[in-house]
Amino acid sequence: MNLLLLYLLLLKATATSFSGLTSLPVVRHDLVVRHRVLTDRQLNAAVVAGQTGPGPYGLYVVSVGYFVAGAPGAFCGYLAMVTPAFLILPMLRYLGARARHPGVRSAIQATTLAAAGLIVASAIPLARDALTSAAAAAIAIASFVVLIATRLDTLWVIAGSAAAGLVAGMFL
């Protein structure tokens, strides 16, 4: 498949979605059903790879690009993933200039509080998936306590959790 076309098809998918995996139906329609350059099995493997590694779930489009056209395809997928991110800058410039207005300031504060609610709401399904053992629950609680009670570098919390999970996997 032509690399420019691959980029444009993946960009169409990422630019019309609002979170990681919501672009999946568009990717499947274009690459699996219409152009037949990707199989459902490959698409599933791409999603799993995107969810297994660090970073956003939207990274699966990089894996999709790799399946379709190797390393250059992965680069197309990468560009399609990062391009829409910069659309935020004109919005930020517009709102930033108006941030002193009391109503706008209050609206931004309200959005911050709503963001906290959305983070909690996103944590619930993740907790259902991830906290399937007493050890996992203990790691989650310990991470929470350390993060709110200390100023320890987040990297140590991440490393400690991986080590605790590894030990739990070995002995429990």
Binding site: T14, A15, T16, F18, G53, P54, G55, P56, Y57, G58, S63, A74, G77, Y78, M81, P84, A85, F86, L87, I88, L92, L95, A99, P102, I108, Q109, A110, T111, T112, L113, A114, A115, A116, G117, L118, I119, V120, S122, A123, L126, A130, L131, I139, A140, S143, F144, V145, L147, T154, L155, I158, G160, S161, A162, A163, G165, L166, A168, G169, M170
Partner: protein, 183 residues
């Protein structure tokens, strides 16, 4: 607010997103801790603005958030460096995992470590939410904070409203329902 050196900013955006598992939300939660709580580079309101607008931006919310947060600190160059730093290493890892997942799936040790990382992501998200709400839990403001944060959870989980609609509704509510000192 402190204006961090580009190198330090890029290093932070290379470190946190490429080491946090569980998707964009836990990563934005980890970045809240680093950018707002630990280093004080961003005010909570700036974080909230970047988070809210990232939800309204098409594509990967986390990368839009990185672009916005870095732009607030170091302008366009910062935004580009942050997006590349936050995504390029993880993209390379994903390509490697595309081949390696089947091998990894059979490895109990690797799966144990990943389980620990996913569990810590849950704690990280809860802590980030707490950091954002806590400054508003004071006299004359706690009810507004609880209604807005709790209402968002209820609208998302109770009636399956989209996050974009929840944030827009919260912004509209906040515009009219102001803190007493804002009036």
């Amino acid at each position: 607010m402190v204006r961090p050196p580009l190198r330090t900013l890029t290093a932070l955006f290379a470190r946190i997103p490429n080491l946090t598992f569980g998707g964009g939300d836990p990563t934005m939660a980890a970045l809240e801790r680093e950018l707002v709580t630990r280093r004080g580079w961003l005010a909570p309101e700036q974080y909230g603005l970047a988070f809210g607008l990232a939800r309204l931006t098409p594509g990967t919310n986390l990368l839009a958030f990185c672009a916005a947060a870095a732009w607030l600190l170091r302008g366009s160059v910062g935004a580009v460096l942050a997006v590349v730093a936050a995504s390029a290493p993880a993209a390379i890892i994903v390509v490697a995992l595309t081949y390696g997942y089947q091998v990894l799936k059979g490895n109990a040790l690797a799966m144990g470590a990943i389980a620990g990382l996913l569990a810590s992501a849950v704690g990280m998200m809860a802590a980030a939410a707490w950091h954002l709400v806590r400054p508003h839990l004071r006299r004359g403001e706690w009810l507004r904070a609880l209604v807005l944060a709790g209402g968002s959870v209820a609208l998302l989980l109770g009636v399956a409203m989209s996050p974009v609609a929840v944030l827009a509704l919260a912004a509209a509510a906040g515009f009219f329902w102001r803190r007493s000192e804002e009036e």
